[in-house]
Amino acid sequence: MGHSYGARTVLADLTVRLTERRVGVVGANGSGKSTFARLLNGLVVPTEGTVTVDSLDTRTATRAVRRRVGFVFQDPDAQIVHPTVAEDVAFGLENMGVAPAERAERVAEVLTRYGLAGHADHPAHLLSGGQKQLLALAGVLVMRPARIVLDEPTTLLDLLNARRVALLVAELEQSVVVVTHDLPLLEGFDRVLVFDTGRLVADDSPAAAIAAYRSLMAGRP
């Protein structure tokens, strides 16, 4: 599989089959990690080859794929669409057609789990960067997608919240793909992919892949 934006090839000659529960993706800025993540739920369709999720082609079964794969983006501000915290978490459930009573229950449960229960009725724009990140996560996890893709979920978080997210990821029963620069987050993962300028340069256990990534970066001027 490969992907180009116009004339610019961002991912080339990539063949992977992800069956593990915890897959990490690391690599330099601009190496194509976010593009890879977007390919996994059909937000981006490959210009070459195909991407299939549970044998659904992202090109033809886009909607079914998106319903199945939850996606959390890098910029939390851009994905919070309702003015208050609880309303935003309820948004995805509304789209799924979940009844109001069950909706309220699931929203309350998720807000508690993310330490946002005290902020349910607060305006989203008054949250701190880290709280927004947690809210963005909560808004997707409340939908209980079968699989989850997280693009740099701990970028804005302090140590405590980053550890909280790491624990949450470890507890999730779904299979998860995490793009990150936060290497400790990948501890205990089943597999880590290393991207460099659009190519998969390592595909190994976390320790081995991170070592390969470090030596790759150390070799740069």
Partner: protein, 217 residues
């Protein structure tokens, strides 16, 4: 921007149905225009303040902010109507505007946006025959309320970043140097927001009936 956003105090006013509150707001507007006498308009204003502070237990500062936002309007109106209609006329106009502004503030501060939006969606439902989707209108309103403070905050951050590097913070130059990066940020954000809406199922016409099953990726 002076949007009186939801202030939860759990009062009976908060629990009242959004439709009833909006209807009351309409009634208040009709009364202060239909019966333009000082006792009636003054009485309505007093009732609004009483409900806002006493029953809904809203912070006085919140209502004060709303008044301050229209202060210059009030002064200008008072002067103009004072010249034309004397002190009584000016008082009437000022009290009427105050009653309207505060009544609107009490309603928005005690009603969740989703509830207001539900009423708007219901009001728009006859438009369905013309192919309009009321849920879309509701989402549009909610997103507008969400992104106004966000864009204001981004503009402020750009201005701060420029000030920190010795840029101008006032005047036309400050505006033009803020506008371009702001536009770029807003467009980028709009792109991600569109993707996030897709990813969270906003484009689904019919909600899926069955829960997602588990297979292998």
């Amino acid at each position: 921007m002076t949007l009186a956003l939801y202030v939860p105090t759990g009062s009976p006013v908060h629990r009242a149905p959004a439709g009833a509150k909006l209807l009351t707001l309409v009634a208040v507007s009709v009364v202060v225009f239909a019966v333009p006498t000082l006792p009636v308009v003054g009485g309505v204003l007093a009732a609004v303040v009483l409900v806002g502070l006493g029953v809904a237990r809203l912070p006085p500062a919140l209502l004060g902010r709303q008044v301050r936002a229209v202060l210059w309007w009030l002064v200008a109106l008072a002067i103009v109507t004072g010249v034309v209609g004397g002190v009584a006329g000016a008082a009437l106009v000022v009290l009427r505007l105050l009653a309207l502004v505060l009544a609107a503030a009490v309603v928005t501060a005690t009603t969740r946006v989703t509830e207001l939006v539900a009423v708007v969606e219901w009001l728009c439902s006859p438009l369905r025959v013309f192919g309009v989707r009321p849920a879309r209108i509701g989402l549009l309103i909610a997103m507008t309320l969400r992104f106004i403070p966000l864009v204001a905050e981004r503009a402020e951050r750009i201005r701060e970043a420029q000030a920190a590097r010795g840029g101008t913070v006032r005047g036309i130059r400050a505006w033009t140097t803020t506008a371009v990066p702001l536009l770029v940020q807003v467009l980028q954000m709009a792109h991600t927001t569109a993707e996030a809406l897709d990813a969270r199922g906003a484009d689904d016409d019919a909600p899926p009936a069955r829960p997602p099953s588990r297979g292998r990726r």
